[in-house]
């Protein structure tokens, strides 16, 4: 690892489409062999960034190096070293499983001797043994996704870009998919993955949170949970959840409130002081609190906290 360049280096990257700034001056680095998560809501600029890194879009300004190669200057050299899975399924539905694999082995220039072995590996990896001669269009979403991953790594790229690989896939397939990602990372492949599933973000070694084209936080999942939250987190279970949420959003001493399943999550500066205050505050409004306690934040809390804080600050400035 020593002396080798970082797998991905992004410096002051900007991408504008007309008046719209999709990526607004972002910088980050991803090390070799790590699972690098790019997290954010829809339209945050995740896909745009990943497309720039794959040489599919030209950046407006700034610099992006993939495997030490400048993507804007030498996109073709970058493409030798990467595998890419786009957000929308983009293999050929009218080709059979085996035909898609053979085609992409050809496109990546995998030599004939290697190709047979890699294709066999990909079929096994995707769990498609016995389905080689099915039309790709007839496969279920989970299989399609694993086949797409298989096609993207036939040439053993050191870096793999996966753009929302698990969207629209059932939970079991999602877990299978993440097992594959981990296996690749164990073999030294850098996996750059975007997602808006917060639970998936927990599987990453490092995360960058992006919102409206800007990085709002970065670090390991644990670091993010500890550092990025401004305040502490309370779990509140009560009746009349909707009414309680409305009331608490106005309440003094509560930074933020959001619904999580059947309960509420509150961000407060000091949990111990806030617990009795919240109980009384809700009691005065006829809401019965059945449970209230401090909890460790999940990434989803972190994300909601960071993005809404940002929105609130902007409102204050305006």
């Amino acid at each position: 690892m020593n002396g080798q360049p970082q797998a991905v280096v992004v410096q002051d990257l900007v991408k504008r489409f007309g008046d719209f700034t999709a990526v607004d001056n972002i910088s980050f680095e991803a090390s070799r062999g790590e699972i690098f998560g790019f997290l954010g809501p829809n339209g945050a600029g995740k896909s745009t960034t990943i497309r720039i890194l794959c040489g599919l879009l030209h950046p407006t300004s700034g610099k992006a190096l993939v495997a030490g190669v400048d993507v804007a200057r030498e996109p073709e050299r970058v493409r030798q070293n990467i595998g890419y899975m786009s957000q929308k399924f983009s293999l050929y539905n009218d080709l059979k499983v085996i035909e898609n694999l053979r085609f992409f082995a050809g496109m990546y220039g995998v030599n004939q001797a290697d190709a047979a072995e890699r294709i066999a590996w990909a079929i096994d990896m995707a769990g498609l043994t016995g389905r080689e001669h099915l039309l790709t269009g007839t496969l279920a979403a989970g299989w399609k996704q694993r086949l797409a991953l298989g096609c993207a790594v036939l040439h053993r790229p050191p870096i793999v870009f996966l753009d929302e690989p698990t969207s629209g896939v059932d939970p079991i397939s999602r877990r299978l998919f993440w097992e594959l990602i981990h296996r690749m990372a164990d073999e030294g492949v850098t996996v750059f993955v975007t997602t808006h599933y917060m639970d998936e973000a927990e599987y990453c070694n490092r995360l960058v949170l992006i919102d409206r084209g800007r990085i709002v936080a970065s670090g390991s999942p644990l670091e993010l949970k500890l550092k990025s939250m401004e305040g502490e987190l309370l779990l509140v279970e009560c009746d009349q959840v909707g009414k309680a949420l409305e009331a608490l959003q106005e309440a003094p001493g509560v930074t933020d409130a959001a619904i999580f399943g059947h309960a509420l999550h509150l961000v407060v500066p000091d949990a111990e002081r806030a617990i009795p205050e919240v109980r009384n505050y809700l009691g005065e409004r006829g809401i019965t609190v059945s449970r209230i306690e401090q909890i460790r934040p999940t990434l989803e809390d972190v994300f909601v906290s960071l993005t809404s804080l940002k929105g609130r600050r902007e409102k204050e400035q305006a």
Binding site: R51, C54, G55, L56, L57, H58, P75, E76, R79, Q80, I82, Y84, M85, S86, K88, F89, S90, L91, Y92, N93, D94, L95, E99, R102, F103, F104, A105, G106, M107, Y108, G109, N111, Q112, A148, C151, A152
Partner: protein
């Protein structure tokens, strides 16, 4: 350029063509349907023009005259009517294109050596048929007059009278002057102009529409490999299509093929390079299958139909239009095919047409390699 990548690309295109019913329809049915539609639909021969007759005399002499119309393959005497309004009505209604009126004093005037005036009414809504009908009618009347004159002279003892001039006509290359013989090779050229461009106009646009392009351009494949990989299967298909059309022309439409097969294949390959590149170009620019296929139909069909010499002879067009025909590649191919089929010309006889075709093949082929960018927009 990587040979394996090119082969993988071409193989994939071939599989997709095979699996797509619409592609197969375009590849197989369209050329044959067009060949028959134009081969039979476009005819410049005027035959069996429907004629109504109002014979006011109904004598042996008038019937002899009308018999000449009946025995000519250019006319079809449909009916004899009893009054003038009925004749006018038939022309109005379009049930006949020519109305002939024989005067009541037909034989009387003939007998006294006076000139007989026959009225002929033509439906001028189709000026081409009308003028042809007119000259045919005049020719029939002329021939009959000549015969009457000779009869008259012979009756007066001038037994060895002969017409002073006679032309012995021989039409080369198309002995029976059948327009189908010139039309069908032209149809082959036109069909390939339209089908060729149409075929490739879908290839790139389809990948953009289905989203497969994004994956494809993330691989190290080069634009040249994409283009050649996509065009080569269609060159093969185009050669087969053209050959099928040519075989149909000879076997079904009985058009002679006097030239050399290599001249035919060489010119066809050049022309396919032109039209397939053009279709590819449209496909890259338009990005949707609908737009690309419409542009390609408009850009090829009308010029190939009107400006290639298919319908109107180029040397009879106004000078400006003649100039424009030089940028219609179908013009060169049309001329080559007609010459190969009917005259058996060699490449050297037609070097100008070959030069024009090769020039367009080079320009459009090069443009096609340059147009595609491996970028999203």
């Amino acid at each position: 350029m990587n040979w394996n990548r090119l082969c993988a690309m071409a193989r994939k295109e071939m599989i997709q063509i095979r699996r797509d019913a619409r592609s197969i329809g375009i590849v197989i049915a369209m050329p044959i349907v067009m060949l028959f539609a134009f081969g039979y639909g476009v005819s410049f021969d005027t035959k069996h023009i429907p004629v109504y007759v109002y014979d006011q005399e109904q004598s042996q002499a008038s019937r002899d005259f009308l018999k000449r119309f009946e025995s000519s393959r250019y006319f079809n005497v449909v009916r004899s009517v009893g009054n003038y309004p009925e004749l006018v009505h038939a022309v109005d209604a379009g049930t006949c294109q020519i109305g002939l009126v024989i005067p009541p004093d037909f034989s009387a005037r003939l007998g006294s050596g006076e000139q007989v005036r026959i009225q002929a009414i033509f439906d001028g809504t189709d000026s081409n048929s009308a003028s042809l009908g007119m000259s045919y009618t005049e020719a029939v009347a002329q021939a009959h007059s000549q015969k009457l004159q000779l009869d008259w002279l012979r009756a007066r003892g001038q037994g060895s009278v002969r017409a002073p001039l006679s032309v012995d006509s021989r039409t080369w290359f198309n002995e029976n002057l059948e327009s189908m013989v010139t039309i069908v090779p032209g149809v082959v050229a036109m069909v390939m102009a339209v089908v060729g461009t149409f075929l490739t106009s879908l290839t790139v646009a389809r990948e953009w529409e289905r989203g497969t392009m994004e994956q494809l351009i993330s691989t190290p494949v080069t634009p040249l490999e994409i283009m050649l990989g996509k065009l080569l299967p269609y060159v093969a298909i185009g050669l087969i299509d053209t050959s099928v059309c040519a075989i149909m022309a000879v076997w079904w439409f009985e058009v002679p093929f006097r030239g050399h097969i290599w001249v035919f294949l060489l010119s066809t390959t050049l022309f396919l390079t032109v039209v397939l590149s053009l279709g590819y170009f449209f496909s890259v620019v338009a990005k949707t299958q609908l737009a690309a296929s419409q542009i390609s139909l408009i850009a090829t069909f009308l010029p190939a139909f009107l400006l290639s010499g298919f319908v109107y002879p180029i040397d009879q067009m106004p000078a400006v239009v003649q100039g424009i025909t030089h940028i219609v590649p179908a013009r060169y191919y049309m001329a080559i095919l007609r010459n190969v089929f009917l005259k058996g010309s060699s490449v050297f006889n037609m070097w100008q047409d070959f030069f024009g075709l090769a020039l367009f093949a080079a320009i459009l082929g090069l443009a096609a390699t340059r147009i595609f960018r491996k970028k999203l927009t």
